[in-house]
Symmetry: C2
Subunit: 349 residues, 2 copies
């Protein structure tokens, strides 16, 4: 059909009453499972979308915000989750909202399916997404559905949506500059797979920060110094072993890592090859994961302003939900380099 489908079209297609469709789409119970499924099938086939503005005017707000993130594997610390959630909930409660959880589950072959059901049934008023990437299916779906959301992180440059992000490029630039100021001239980069080919959104930003600082300091860049590795200890360890096997005149004396796990792996590879961390081999991480201050030597890392990100994301999302006429929000917050022993030269090489 060429005109926009209405609730009545869905009712006709599903062979039920207008009221039954409305019940299902508003998440109200008392409709049999079979009927429920028939209605959702009709919604899909007709590409029916509830009118968001009208929905707001009808005062059917749920006062719920959905938060979506990608959980870490069990043996890895999530450096920001606890604080970020505390911040989100605090800001949401101040605005009269509660936060509902949507971790992406392993083996999720159809990520958008979860969102489709939630949007269709009006379970939440809006979403907050983190762990974003290029071609992020969640963002694509929510944009198509014209559903309110704000991302912690960026995605495709030509997708117009609201986000708050931390300027990872500035963070890695600061870390690299710090190492060059400590007298290092052969500085390597441990970054995530695809970051150099624009396949990892956060990785690409951070990688660019390394090149910025190397160029600003007029340091040579050896292609062999940029190593791609999954953000886990083992890969940081192995890639650093490879770096340390380079001929002496090409062998790095410092490593900038795009996360703390890679940095800790690098530290241990250098330690095992007999180098003193800090004095002989500089290492920096990213995230300032709680606990890295306890490593010996303590790890220099880039700290994200997590609390602020949470506060501002909720503020922007509530504005979107309540229809306040705002410009699109695309904000980069500055991270802070926390200098500790792992990157400070206390002696000579």
């Amino acid at each position: 059909m060429s005109r926009k489908p209405t609730l009545k079209d869905v009712a006709a297609a599903a062979g039920v009453s207008y009221q039954t469709v409305s019940k299902v789409l508003n998440g109200q119970g008392n409709v049999g499972q079979e009927t429920h499924e028939r209605i959702l099938k009709a919604v899909d086939e007709l590409s029916y979308r509830p009118n968001i503005t009208a929905r707001g005017l009808r005062n059917q707000a749920t006062r719920l915000i959905g938060y979506s993130w990608k959980p870490m594997p069990p043996d890895q610390a999530n450096p920001i989750l606890d604080r970020f959630l505390s911040s989100l909930v605090k800001a949401a409660e101040n605005a009269g909202y509660h936060v509902l959880l949507f971790p992406s589950q392993e083996n999720d072959d159809d990520i958008a399916a979860n969102y489709r059901e939630l949007v269709r049934t009006n379970r939440v008023d809006g979403f907050i997404l983190s762990s974003t990437n290029y071609d992020d299916e969640r963002i694509r779906f929510l944009l198509d559905a014209e559903f309110p959301f704000v991302a912690f992180g960026r995605s495709n440059p030509d997708w117009a949506f609201d986000y708050i992000d931390v300027d990872g490029r500035a963070g890695i630039r600061a870390a690299t500059r710090h190492l060059s100021e400590q007298g290092h001239s052969r500085i390597a980069l441990l970054t995530w797979p695809g970051a150099t080919k624009a396949k990892s959104r956060a990785g690409t930003s951070r990688t660019n920060g390394y090149y910025d600082a190397m160029n600003e300091a007029q340091l040579p860049i050896d292609p062999a110094w940029t190593r791609e590795a999954l953000g886990i200890f083992k890969h940081g360890f192995e890639q650093t072993q490879l770096l340390l096997m380079l001929p002496e005149d090409r062998r790095p004396t410092a490593v900038v890592a795009v996360d703390d796990q890679l940095a800790i792996g690098a530290m241990h590879a250098a330690l095992e090859s007999g180098l003193r961390i800090g004095a002989q081999f500089g290492v920096t991480g990213f995230d300032d994961t709680p606990g890295v201050q306890l490593l010996r030597p303590a790890l220099t890392s880039v700290r994200q302003p997590i609390w602020d990100v949470g506060q501002r994301i909720v503020e922007v999302l509530v504005g979107l939900i309540q229809g306040a006429p705002t410009e699109q929000t695309q904000i980069l917050l500055e991270p802070e380099l926390i200098v500790r022993e792992s990157s400070v030269r206390v002696g000579d090489l």
Copy 2:
């Protein structure tokens, strides 16, 4: 009044209609702030409680479960949050529920107030509580309100409520036994303040596990070996320094800590006094915080079956909400001792 107050009594006391009270208590909008407050005041004064069973029968289920926990300070890792939340959401979604977040905020002088509002307004069908303690106000309130909840953790022995907990006593007993099997006979305990005087629920269980194992191994127990310390690095470090100042024949050669932060503090105090961890000084932690396997030496720790706890808590709670006739559930799950270098003697003392 002697009979149980009804919705109509609340309406009369607040000077509004029955329907308006119902709207407010069911979290539906469109009621002015002043009226809203007047109604909640009347609810309080009359100690009105909605009939939970009737509410279920009226099919006003929210399909929402609230999760309440105490966030960690920013410089400390939360060892279980990410995995626990993933497990809760997975189990909840399988049962047709979503999870809503209620971190306790700092400077919360009236913890129960948050719950009162939620229970009164039917925002959730039930609660999951973690970070429980003796005299836990949340538990007291939810018991009084006869509102469905399940705790991850225990509280006062005479309070009858459903919980799943990890057997911390068995975990610390296993760690202590392991150290005695490694040949240590002077084993100290770092535990939380109040644990020896039954002021910290989890701390008391863990502390008892130490005494169990020391008695089973027929080892002497010096009162100076039990040190109370807040569960942070600094306190573990300082208390271990004090232990190492004891006269040689009373000086411990191993420390069992009730959390990983204390254990890492203990490791560093021993390292700084020139001891080799493992070979000369044994250390064990608790939680198996992601990352402790990366410490050098890697930390022996007690791992909680977090995923299982999440799955079973949701199962029990959904049973309570849906009124399935079950016995009270009070389950202790076994933790697992993960032995790493920090507790294994590879040489002689």
